[in-house]
Amino acid sequence: MNFLVKETSYKISSGRRNCYQLDLGYKVIDFTFCQLLAFRKKILHYSSYESLEAIIEEDNFILLWVADNKHLLYLDVPQILELRATVLPIFR
């Protein structure tokens, strides 16, 4: 059996205190720490089983304002899950 293991293409980095960058590949979003906490909360919410089920049954995508409404993200389910896998580990 063959497996294809794909690591997340999104990256989060931090150069200095209270300054984080989320690299989505097509753009980089700057976050302060509190904006990052708020983003984590949204991703946690939308990646819950109930939310994913609701997304799939409705439009199959969400529009998400991030970083104090500076950026609007169009996210489908795989992208939401990938963001979850990117964002959550940095707090551990």
Partner: protein, 168 residues
């Protein structure tokens, strides 16, 4: 990255999530007590109404204490939304029974945050929560005392029972 996060916040993020849940629990308890105060006030049970108005204030104070703690320590406190709370009760005894259930619910939630703070070595939160653990034990005991008094005075007129409800 762990160091970067640590430089921005002393608290464990999992504990922050639970503290935000606790903020909602305290606000919910405050709303429940306000509904109980209204029920008593409408039936001219003055002491009981005062007791529940005070309890509603106290739960809000608890909520604000946690809210400030989260924000003061680098976390992000979320303003709570509360679902519908009950406004109808069968008797004064039923109101105090519901009050005890509300306190037990809050106690369980506090214990859960405390356990998580200990598990994640978030000592700042653990020490902060110690006051709430003691406070909840006192709150539960206060309601049990009132329920015992209601049991003892079961045959007495409701107004006389109300006169013995503590208002401070």
């Amino acid at each position: 990255m762990e160091t970067a996060i640590r430089r921005d916040m002393i608290l464990d993020v999992e504990v922050v999530d639970l503290l935000n849940h606790q903020i909602m629990m305290e606000q919910k308890a405050s709303s429940k007590y306000l509904a109980m105060a209204s029920w008593c006030d409408q039936r001219e049970l003055r002491n009981s109404a005062t007791y529940f108005y005070n309890q509603a204030e106290e739960e809000r104070t608890h909520m604000m204490k946690i809210f400030k703690f989260v924000n003061d320590n680098g976390g992000s406190a979320l303003s709570p939304t509360v679902a519908e709370v009950p406004h109808e009760y069968e008797s004064l005894r039923a109101v105090f029974e519901a009050s005890l259930d509300a306190e037990i619910e809050v106690t369980k939630a506090i214990h859960n945050v405390f356990k998580t703070a200990r598990k994640t070595s978030d000592f700042t939160s653990e020490i902060f929560l110690q006051w709430f653990v003691t406070e909840q034990a006192e709150e539960e005991e206060k309601v049990r005392d009132i329920l015992d008094m209601i049991d003892l005075m079961d045959d007495m007129p409701l107004k006389m029972i109300d006169e013995r409800i503590p208002t401070e």
